[in-house]
C-alpha cells in the first residue's frame, strides 16, 4: 500500500519534472514534505488595534490587527507548536489550532519577548514534527521557502513565497534574514530549505525595538526575518515550563558611540547585577561567555544570546587589571519599570523660578531628606557615584529654565531606590543648597492634600486676556462626527488651571437628565478641586465603541481651547461598560490621560509589558458585586506592571456607582495625580 503510493507520487513528480525546472520541483517537494507540520491557527476576540511602540514624534503608532488565520509549526510530538507572538498581540480570547481538519483548543504557554516567538500547547499527540535545519548548515544565498496558512486554510497546501537567505546572524545575531515575502500572511510559519527542513520561524523583528509589532512596517519589503529553529529548540524546555523569555540586563549604560566605541561602562545602576558584582563607571568589558568583544555591537550580539534569569560570565578591565566575573544573574527589563518618586506636589500655577513645592508626603523621600512645602527646586540630576581618583563632577547649577518637565525627565533616568541631587532654595531664604534625595515608589494610599493649597491665587473673576469660557453646564456638538457632548465648567476655569474628568456614562444613561444628575453629584467637588466635568454622549443605546476614540479626543481638545487646562490632570472616568471604555482609552491614548477611574468595571486588554507614560488607576467595586474578585485581580495585574492602582471598596453593595463619600475619595485621588 505504502509502496504503491510512493510509486504514484514519483510518477507525479516525474510528470512535473518534465514540465518545470528542477528548482521548481525541489520547491514543491520541499513544501509537500514540511506541510504536515505547518498548522492553521484561528483566534477570536482580542483588540482591534495593537501598538507598535512610539513613533518619531512620540505619538503612539497603532496597527489594525487582521482577523484571518495565522500559522504555526509543530516542534514536539506532545502537542507543542511554535508561532509568532505577533499573531496574538491583540490578546485574543480563544485560540484554536486546526490539524488535518480537526480542531483543538490551544493555549499560549510562554513567549520569547525578544524574538516575537510564542509557544502553544494543544491537548493531542502531534507526531508530524518539523525537521530542523542546523544553523551551521545554512548559507547566505541558498534558496529558501516561506510558508503560511492565512491564504490557504487548513485543507489546501500552505501558501508559498520563494527567496534566498540574505544574511545570517542579523539583528544582534537573533535572526536569519531572507528576501522571500514575509508578512502577516506567514508570520509564525516556517522558513524551510530545499530539503523541507525548517531553518527558522518567521517573525516581524526590528533592530530598533522589541514591541509586539516591531518590524511589521517591513512586511513584503524584501527584508524579512526568521528566528533559527535551532535556537528556539534549545530554549524549548524553559518555554514549556511557562517561563516567558525576556531580555537579560546587567543594569549598565554604555559610554560613547554604539558603533565605534568599546563596551565601557558609563553608569552601573545602583542595586542591579553589574553594580552588585562590583562593576563601576570606566570598566571596559572584554569578553562575554568566553567570546571576546571589541565593540558595543559585538557586546550586544553576545548578550542577546542570554535571557533574564540566565547566568553569564564576563571579563572586564579596570585600568590594566583584568577582572573575571562568573555566574552573574541577569534581570529582566520589567523589573526595572516602576517609576521613581520623590513624594512632592508642585503648586500648579506658580510663575516663579523652578518648582515651588506645595506639599511633601510625611515620611516620603523628600520629607526624609529635609524638604518641605514652600521650598523651591531650581535644578536636579541623578546622583552618580564616581570611582576613586576620577575628576570631580562640577556642582549642580540652576539652568536658565527649569520646570516640571525637566524634573520628570531626570527622574525617568533612575529607578526607585536610586538617588537624586536637587538644588533647593529653602522657604524664605535667598541662598540655595544641594540635597540628596533617595527616591521611592509612588504612594499607594491617598495624599493628605488640601485643594486650597494647589494654587497661589485666590479664586477671582476673570481678568482681561484670560480665556473666557461659558461657565456652568454647557453643550457642544461635533458636526463632523454628528455627535454631541455636555460639560460642567466651574467659575474661573478660563483663568486658573483646571483638570478634566471625562465621564463615560453606562449604556443607555447618556440622556440630558442623566448627565445633569451626575453634575449634581459632582458639582461641589468640581469647584473645590478645580475640575471640568466633560460628558461625551454615546451614539447608541448599547454604549461605547472603540471607534468613539477620535470623537472623544476631539472633544477633549475642544475643552482645552475653552478653558485653561492642566495636562497633568486629565482623567477618564466611567461606570460599568463606561468604566471599561475609560480603561481602554487610558491605556491606548497614551500620554493623554494621567488617570483612569473605573467603577464597577473590569479593565480589559491590560498590557503585557509595563507601559511608558501610562495612567494611574483607581478601581472601585461593591463588596457584593460578582465582579469583585476579577477587579481585585486587575489591581494585582496593574501593580505587577508597575502601574499604581488604588482600590476603593463600597461596603454592602453590588455593581453600583459611587455615593457622595466615594466621589469625595475619588477627588482626593485625582488631587494627588500630579505628584512627583
Amino acid at each position: 500500500m505504502i509502496c504503491s503510493s510512493v510509486t504514484l507520487t514519483i510518477t507525479f513528480f516525474i510528470g512535473e519534472l518534465l514540465a518545470q525546472s528542477p528548482l521548481q520541483n525541489a520547491i514543491q517537494v520541499a513544501v509537500k514534505r514540511v506541510a504536515p507540520s505547518v498548522v492553521t491557527i484561528e483566534t477570536s476576540g482580542g483588540s482591534e488595534v495593537i501598538s507598535l511602540g512610539r513613533g518619531p514624534r512620540d505619538q503612539d503608532k497603532l496597527l489594525r490587527k487582521g482577523v484571518g488565520a495565522t500559522t504555526g509549526v509543530i516542534v514536539h510530538p506532545d502537542g507543542w507548536i511554535l508561532s509568532s507572538a505577533f499573531n496574538f498581540a491583540n490578546k485574543p480570547t480563544s485560540i484554536i489550532v486546526s490539524i488535518n481538519q480537526t480542531k483543538h483548543i490551544a493555549r499560549i504557554v510562554a513567549t520569547d519577548t525578544t524574538r516575537s516567538i510564542a509557544l502553544l500547547k494543544i491537548p493531542i499527540a502531534t507526531p508530524q514534527v518539523a525537521e530542523v535545519a542546523p544553523i551551521s548548515q545554512l548559507q547566505t544565498g541558498q534558496t529558501v521557502i516561506a510558508l503560511g496558512r492565512t491564504l490557504s486554510g487548513a485543507e489546501a497546501p500552505p501558501s508559498v513565497s520563494v527567496g534566498i537567505i540574505s544574511a545570517l546572524n542579523r539583528i544582534q545575531g537573533k535572526a536569519i534574514q531572507t528576501d522571500a515575502k514575509i508578512s502577516p500572511i506567514n508570520y509564525g510559519g516556517p522558513l524551510v530549505d530545499l530539503s523541507g527542513r525548517v531553518a527558522g520561524i518567521l517573525v516581524p523583528l526590528s533592530p530598533q525595538g522589541e514591541g509586539d509589532g516591531a518590524g511589521i512596517e517591513w512586511y513584503d519589503s524584501g527584508i524579512g526575518f526568521s528566528v533559527p529553529l535551532e535556537h528556539c529548540l534549545k530554549n524549548l524546555p524553559k518555554l514549556m515550563e511557562g517561563k516567558d523569555l525576556k531580555r537579560g540586563m546587567l543594569g549598565i549604560l554604555l559610554k560613547g558611540d554604539p558603533l565605534m566605541d568599546p563596551p565601557e561602562v558609563g553608569t552601573a545602576q545602583t542595586g542591579l547585577p553589574a553594580q552588585k558584582a562590583g562593576m563601576q563607571t570606566g570598566d571596559r568589558i572584554v569578553s562575554v561567555g568566553g567570546i571576546a568583544v571589541d565593540n558595543q555591537t559585538q557586546f550586544q550580539r553576545e548578550m542577546s544570546k542570554y535571557y533574564a534569569g540566565d547566568k553569564v560570565s564576563l571579563v572586564y578591565k579596570r585600568g590594566d587589571k583584568v577582572v573575571p566575573v562568573d555566574g552573574l544573574e541577569l534581570i529582566s527589563p520589567s523589573n526595572s519599570k516602576e517609576q521613581a518618586q520623590l513624594g512632592i506636589y508642585p503648586i500648579r500655577d506658580d510663575e516663579g523660578k523652578g518648582i515651588l513645592i506645595r506639599h511633601v508626603n510625611p515620611k516620603g523621600p523628600a520629607d526624609l531628606a529635609g524638604l518641605a512645602s514652600g521650598d523651591r527646586i531650581l535644578a536636579a540630576r541623578p546622583f552618580v557615584v564616581l570611582p576613586a581618583g576620577s575628576p570631580a563632577i562640577p556642582a549642580l547649577k540652576p539652568p536658565p529654565k527649569f520646570g516640571r518637565a525637566d524634573l520628570v525627565q531626570s527622574m525617568e533616568r533612575i529607578l526607585p531606590g536610586m538617588e537624586m541631587e536637587l538644588l533647593v532654595q529653602k522657604n524664605g531664604q535667598m541662598s540655595s543648597k544641594t540635597f540628596k534625595v533617595k527616591s521611592g515608589l509612588a504612594l499607594e494610599g491617598l495624599a493628605d492634600l488640601n485643594p486650597a493649597t494647589a494654587t497661589n491665587r485666590p479664586l477671582q473673576g476673570d481678568r482681561p486676556g484670560d480665556k473666557k469660557p461659558q461657565t456652568g453646564l454647557i453643550s457642544g456638538t461635533n458636526n463632523a462626527q454628528d455627535r454631541s457632548w455636555k460639560a460642567f465648567l466651574p467659575k474661573g476655569a478660563g483663568r486658573e488651571v483646571h483638570g478634566i474628568v471625562v465621564w463615560f456614562h453606562p449604556p443607555g444613561r447618556g440622556r440630558d437628565n442623566d448627565l445633569e444628575e451626575i453634575v449634581n453629584l459632582w458639582e461641589n467637588e468640581l469647584n473645590r478641586h478645580r475640575l471640568v466635568l466633560l460628558m461625551p454622549q454615546s451614539h447608541v443605546e448599547t454604549g461605547w465603541n472603540v471607534s468613539d476614540a477620535s470623537f472623544i479626543n476631539e472633544t477633549v481638545k475642544a475643552i482645552q481651547e475653552l478653558a485653561n487646562i492642566d495636562p497633568n490632570r486629565i482623567v477618564a472616568h466611567g461606570f460599568a461598560q463606561g468604566g471599561q471604555m475609560a480603561g481602554y482609552l487610558g491605556l491606548t491614548q497614551k500620554g493623554l490621560y494621567k488617570g483612569v477611574a473605573a467603577v464597577g468595571a473590569i479593565p480589559s486588554n491590560l498590557p503585557r509589558e509595563s507601559p511608558d507614560n501610562g495612567p494611574k488607576f483607581f478601581l472601585s467595586t461593591g463588596d457584593r458585586d460578582p465582579q469583585m474578585e476579577a477587579i481585585k485581580t486587575s489591581q494585582k495585574t496593574l501593580r505587577g506592571l508597575g502601574i499604581p492602582c488604588f482600590l476603593h471598596i463600597i461596603p454592602q453593595s453590588g455593581q453600583q456607582y459611587l455615593d457622595l463619600g466615594g466621589i469625595e475619595t475619588l477627588n482626593r485621588w485625582i488631587e494627588g495625580l500630579d505628584g512627583l
Binding site: 514519483i10 518545470q20 525546472s21 521548481q24 525541489a26 476576540g45 482577523v67 484571518g68 520563494v162
Partner: protein, 371 residues
C-alpha cells in the same frame, strides 16, 4: 526513495533553464508585444488614469479589468510599437471583474497583432503554490508609447477564493484567484498578464486591494479559467471569461436577482454586550425553549465556527447569520470551558415579521444582562 530523488534534484538544481527552455529575455521579447498600455478615465481621487490590457486576437480583442478606467468615453491604447489607437468597450462583466475591448476604429483595423491564444490558455491546468510565474504590466505608467511594459518574476503563493470569507476581502470577484509572492498589483498594473515561466497566459493582474485577513496588500490575478456562479431571477447560472470572449459585443452581463431583504432568523441566543469591535461571541443567555436551547447551546459558550467559518467577533457572527433563513441547519462549534462542542442549530422565523435590518450592523444582537 524520496530522499534519493531530492538529492538528484539538488544536483541539477543549479541550472536555471531546462535543456530547450527559453531564457527569460527570450520569453520577455516574445511576450511584451502582446500587452497594451491603456489610458482613460481617472486621475482623480488617487485613481490612476492608466492601466494595462492583454491582446487576445490578431484583430485586436483585448481583455482588462472592469475598473474605473473604462468608465469614461475616450479610451486610448499604446501598442508595443508605439502606435496610438482608439479603443472601444465591447462588453463588461462586473461578476468576473473583466472587460472586453477592441482596438482600432472603422478606419484603423488590424489583422496581425501579436496575441495570447486564450482558447489554448483555457485548456492548461491550474498551477500550484511554488510554481514560477511572470507578470507583465504598465505599473506606475513607467512605460509610454513604444517602451516595453515591466516584467516581474515571482512564484504562485496560493490558488483559492479570497472572497466568501465574510467581510474579509473587498474584491468584486468571488471565484478562485492566483495569489503571487511578487508585488505585482500596483497602480496601472490591473489588466496586465500573469504568465508561467514560458510566457503562457495564466491570468490577469488584479486591482490594488487591502487584505482584511492580515491588513496587508494582496497581490492576486484572475485566472483565464475564471468562473463564477451568479444568482439570477431564474436560478443560478455559471459564467466565465471565455464565454464573454466568444460572444464579443453580443455578451450581456449575467442578470442578478434582487437581493432579498435581510432578516436574521430567530435562534434564541443572547450575546454579551458588543463593547468593542472584536467582542468575542460569548453567549450571555439562551432563551428557554428556543432553537438554541433545543440544540443544547448554553450560557457562557463561545461560538468559534459557523459551518466551519471562523467567527472572531460578534460583528462577523452577525454578518454570517444574515445568510441563513428559518429552517436551515447551521453547524455551530462552541467552546465550552476547555472543550469544543459541535451542535446543529435550526432557527425559526424571526418574530415580528420581516423588519429590514442593516447587513453590516454596528450594534450587537439583543444584548443580555446588565443594566
Amino acid at each position: 526513495m524520496i530522499l534519493r530523488f531530492l538529492s538528484l534534484v539538488l544536483v541539477v538544481g543549479v541550472v536555471s533553464n531546462l535543456p530547450g527552455q527559453e531564457s527569460l529575455s527570450q520569453v520577455f521579447n516574445k511576450t511584451y508585444p502582446k500587452l497594451v498600455k491603456l489610458y482613460g478615465a481617472g486621475g482623480i481621487r488617487g485613481l490612476a488614469g492608466y492601466g494595462t490590457g492583454v491582446v487576445i486576437s490578431a484583430d485586436g480583442l483585448v481583455l482588462t479589468v472592469n475598473n474605473h478606467l473604462i468608465e469614461g468615453g475616450d479610451l486610448v491604447a499604446h501598442l508595443h510599437d508605439g502606435t496610438r489607437v482608439p479603443v472601444k468597450v465591447l462588453a463588461r462583466e462586473p461578476e468576473l471583474d473583466t472587460a472586453l475591448l477592441k482596438l482600432g476604429s472603422a478606419k484603423q483595423t488590424f489583422d496581425d497583432l501579436p496575441f495570447f491564444d486564450i482558447e489554448e490558455a483555457y485548456k492548461k491546468p491550474i498551477l500550484g503554490p511554488g510554481a514560477a510565474v511572470l507578470a507583465f504590466s504598465n505599473a506606475f505608467q513607467i512605460a509610454t508609447r513604444e517602451e516595453p511594459v515591466t516584467i516581474m518574476q515571482g512564484n504562485i503563493a496560493s490558488f483559492g477564493r479570497l472572497y466568501g470569507r465574510i467581510g474579509i476581502f473587498d474584491i468584486p470577484f468571488s471565484g478562485n484567484v492566483y495569489v503571487v509572492d511578487a508585488i505585482t498589483n500596483n497602480p496601472g498594473a490591473a489588466g496586465g498578464a500573469l504568465t508561467d515561466r514560458n510566457g503562457q497566459l495564466l491570468g490577469f493582474v488584479g486591482r490594488e486591494v487591502r487584505n482584511e485577513l492580515t491588513n496587508t496588500w494582496v497581490n492576486y490575478a484572475i485566472p483565464v479559467q475564471a468562473q463564477v456562479d451568479v444568482r439570477g431571477p431564474n436560478g443560478m447560472s455559471r459564467i466565465g471569461i471565455l464565454e464573454m470572449v466568444r460572444k464579443k459585443e453580443s455578451y450581456r452581463p449575467a442578470p442578478k436577482a434582487d437581493k432579498p431583504v435581510d432578516v436574521e432568523p430567530y435562534t434564541g441566543i443572547l450575546l454579551v454586550s458588543n463593547l468593542i469591535d472584536r467582542t468575542p461571541p460569548f453567549i450571555e443567555e439562551v432563551i428557554p425553549g428556543s432553537p438554541a436551547a433545543i440544540a443544547g447551546i448554553k450560557a457562557d459558550d463561545l461560538i468559534v465556527y459557523v459551518d466551519g467559518i471562523p467567527v472572531p467577533s460578534i460583528n462577523t457572527l452577525r454578518e454570517l447569520m444574515f445568510r441563513y433563513k428559518a429552517g436551515d441547519k447551521i453547524r455551530l462549534d462552541v467552546r465550552r470551558r476547555d472543550q469544543l462542542v459541535g451542535v446543529d442549530l435550526i432557527p425559526l422565523k424571526a418574530p415580528g415579521g420581516s423588519k429590514p435590518v442593516s447587513p453590516l450592523p454596528i450594534s450587537p444582537l439583543p444584548t443580555g444582562g446588565r443594566p
